[in-house]
Amino acid sequence: MFDRLSFPQPWLSWVLFLTWQILSDGVSGGSVVLGLILAWLIPQLTHGFWPERPGFVKPWRMPAYILRVLKDIVVASFSVAWLILSPRSPRPAFISYPLKLEHPLAISILASTISLTPGTVSADISDDNKTLLIHALDATSDQEVIDAIHNSYEKPLMEMFQ
């Protein structure tokens, strides 16, 4: 019976609560009450869609990861903008990226990061969740792209989740 009153996913509840406070016009009694109701109701309703609880092992590493991704987005945007405006044609490539991450949430964070950073889009994942297909806009060599992604994104995620 008390299952119904609990917060099955504390992280999701926190995010929903904070999002509601930012969306509403200033923090007030009403927004806190409604935020609490939403933070309780939405995880209860969507419980069935999460096959396993996402296990954040070291969540305090997340802000550093987000800052690094934001920095990379800005830096790489300039190179893509330059490439679009320069007369030479790009050298696109499909790259099979061997995944070392195993947690589904970690893989989807990595795939989203790859898509957000300019120059690479994650196109598909193999059925056994071991290989990610990446389309690179301008790749000099496959190995270079694979090493860059592994060192700057996959390693921090591995430390976070395993």
Partner: protein, 110 residues
């Protein structure tokens, strides 16, 4: 509104607008479907980010206090842009869209 805020807002708007323009040029100039995917997804990340910051500065200097609700636009965009890019790429591979000739490697068939 202070003079500094006005300059900062103008600079950020120009910067964001410039990046969005480059993204649109990329959509027109790049050779095939897969490379065109890169143009718009990049423009949104930096272009919208800069325009969002200028909006935060504007509303924070006009009203009292700092207003963060615009930041959520960017957060939601960052969450949805990779998903839509992924679905577009998957759909293109499924119906076998041609790639430009000098593409290295190719999509899978699984």
């Amino acid at each position: 509104m202070s003079l500094f805020a006005e300059y900062a807002i103008s600079a950020l708007l120009l910067f964001g607008g410039g990046f969005t323009l480059v993204g649109a040029i990329g959509l027109a100039r790049l050779p095939d479907f897969y490379t065109r995917l890169h143009g718009p997804t990049k423009a949104t990340t930096v272009g919208v980010g800069a325009i969002m910051f200028s909006s935060v500065i504007y509303f924070s200097s006009v009203d009292q206090g700092i207003d963060f609700s615009e930041v959520l636009i960017t957060v939601f965009l960052f969450m949805t842009a990779p998903v839509s890019a992924n679905m577009l790429a998957k759909a293109a591979m499924h119906i076998g869209v041609e790639t430009v000739k000098d593409t290295e490697g190719g999509p899978w068939h699984q």
